[in-house]
């Protein structure tokens, strides 16, 4: 199957899913067996794609009022990602290079990673208020561990020959850190980029959902409060689209920054 054909089929599948969704939730189609007392139930539980489209259209075009919310969610995601990555990188390098410290902290790291960190959200709200920082904090706790474990592992797997070579070329311990360990660890951060950006996003949205006055998670939460299922689904669709755009941006950045890494099928022709 060639590429264009594949894309067309993928799009057709999407249309088919929404068409089925639309038809199946029409009043009176399924209900007689399942919900005899009320013909509108299917639409009540599953929403109607046409109405979701109206909501999304209003958000983006007629009312154009979703942009501040998107902006807040984006800020939270980016901040959580950056802060979590820098912390993970720094502490991962430190523990990776210091056997004593890593032996000391090992059980605590394991425990903190095992803890379901979403339960920290209320605590962060008490500490940082309902603004963006409580969401950033939640995202940071999720991102940190992914980056930390990658860097920690990466430091241990730096090629000893490359290290010895740099040493023979005159690198001091500090220069080894800057010119060998750091670039090598950074490449590990980037290899976990998709997961950690995804986690930053999860932290932001969950945080908003649990208590805030702005953001896409907040929109969903509000709609839920009034049983407005179409708006809930519309919010979910917007979040999905948002995540896809983020992922696309990450792929672009990755391609730029990891040019030195061999990729499969790289012919090496430049």
């Amino acid at each position: 199957m060639n590429r264009t054909k594949l894309r067309i089929l993928q799009a057709a599948l999407l249309v088919a899913i929404f068409a089925f969704w639309q038809v199946a939730t029409q009043p009176g189609l399924i209900p007689p067996f399942v919900w005899p007392e009320n013909a509108d139930r299917a639409a009540f539980f599953f929403g109607e794609p046409s109405k979701m489209a109206q909501v999304i259209w209003a958000w983006f075009v007629t009312d154009a009022n979703i942009y501040p919310h998107l902006w807040v969610t984006l800020q939270e995601t980016v901040l959580a990602f950056v802060i979590g990555s820098v912390l993970g990188l720094a502490i991962g390098l430190w523990l990776g290079l210091s056997p004593t410290a890593s032996a000391l902290f090992d059980p605590y790291i394991t425990a903190m990673n095992a803890m379901p960190r979403v339960v920290l959200a209320p605590i962060f709200m008490v500490w940082f208020g309902l603004g963006i920082w409580s969401k950033v904090a939640l995202g940071v706790t999720l991102v940190f561990f992914i980056v930390f474990f990658n860097v920690y592992q990466g430091v241990k797997e730096v090629s000893p020959v490359v290290l010895n070579n740099a040493t023979m070329l005159g690198a001091s311990r500090k220069q080894l850190l800057r010119f060998v360990y750091l670039p090598s660890a950074t490449s590990w951060v980037f290899s976990s980029l998709h997961t950690s950006v995804g986690m930053a996003f999860v932290g932001a949205v969950v945080g908003e959902y649990l208590g805030s006055a702005k953001g896409v998670g907040y929109l969903i939460h509000m709609a839920e409060g009034s049983f407005d299922i179409n708006t809930v689904f519309a919010g979910i669709l917007v979040l999905t689209g948002f995540a896809l755009v983020l992922d696309f941006a990450v792929t672009k950045v990755e391609k730029r920054l990891l040019v030195w890494r061999p990729t499969q099928g790289d012919s090496g022709a430049l």
């Binding site: 090629s159 020959v161 490359v162 010895n164 070579n165 740099a166 040493t167 023979m168 070329l169 005159g170 690198a171 001091s172 220069q175 010119f179 060998v180 670039p183 090598s184 490449s187 040019v259 030195w260 890494r261 061999p262 790289d266 090496g268 430049l270």
Partner: protein, 268 residues
């Protein structure tokens, strides 16, 4: 005259799962200032181990290493090392790899770049400076490593099978190039190789090591072929053939022994 590198009764024992393994035992060997010495020996006998000791990367279990009369403590700052396996930093372009040592020394960037370009063209890689190691062939990577080492102008060159990945033509070009660089500015060289012909055609002296464990030198042969040499032509001279026969005769038993031992170790 004080030796550039002097191994004094060096023994290296590694702790292993199956008990300690003594790779080299009581090795005493001197490399004079400006001398080109090749070390040949069966695979796994401890050649790289000796080179690591000379570089200061490996502390001998017993014995001492002196360079120019001074006992070595830590890294041998007078030595450049060309490793047997891949040693380039994969995240740096060829040029940045070549200039890495200058950068560590804090040399000015533009000057370092110019020097780096010059060395790249000397090893036949002009125009390849912005390629990353994975975009270079194995032989090109070796040449980058060579430039990376030589740009720092070390007094002692430690070379661990540097040309074994190259085809015979490129290899002879590189060997001639190395000889030319060496004769212009006499450095002490410890050159490890599996290839006896390469050893003879390049060196002032060839040291033959016994098979492991407890490897030690079992023969030293002075190569009094005239210089300057062309590595391809010199192989055709009768004197070369005579030396080759003589050394090969001394080596043969050890090579067979080494092969047998490696095989047994794998089976066991």
């Amino acid at each position: 005259m004080t030796a550039a590198v002097h191994f004094d009764n060096i023994t290296c024992t590694f702790a292993g799962k199956a008990g300690p393994y003594t790779a080299v035992k009581d090795v005493t060997l001197s490399i004079a200032d400006g001398e080109f010495v090749s070390v040949v020996g069966p695979t796994g006998c401890g050649k790289s181990t000796l080179l690591n000791v000379a570089a200061g990367l490996l502390r001998p279990t017993s014995g001492a290493l002196t360079t120019f009369g001074e006992p070595l403590n830590g890294i041998n700052r007078r030595a450049g090392y060309m490793f047997q396996s891949e040693a380039l930093m994969p995240w740096r372009s060829a040029l940045d790899n070549v200039t890495a040592g200058l950068e560590f020394r804090g040399e000015e960037k533009a000057a370092a770049r110019a020097k780096g370009e010059d060395w790249l063209s000397r090893v036949g890689l002009a125009g390849f400076g912005d390629r990353y190691p994975h975009q270079l062939s194995g032989g090109m990577r070796k040449r980058t490593s060579l430039a990376q080492m030589l740009i720092l102008d070390p007094k002692i060159l430690l070379m661990d099978e540097p040309f074994s990945a190259l085809d015979i033509q490129t290899r002879q070009l590189m060997e001639n190039e190395l000889l030319e660089l060496w004769s212009a500015n006499r450095k002490s060289v410890i050159f490890i190789t599996h290839d006896l012909e390469e050893a003879i055609s390049l060196s002032d002296r060839v040291v033959v090591l016994s098979a492991g464990p407890a490897t030690r030198p079992i023969g030293e042969f002075v190569i009094d072929l005239p210089r300057p040499r062309d590595v391809a032509e010199i192989r055709l001279t009768p004197k070369f053939t005579a030396l080759h026969d003589q050394i090969w005769h001394a080596m043969k038993d050890e090579v067979l022994k080494g092969y047998q031992q490696t095989k047994n170790r794998v089976v066991a």
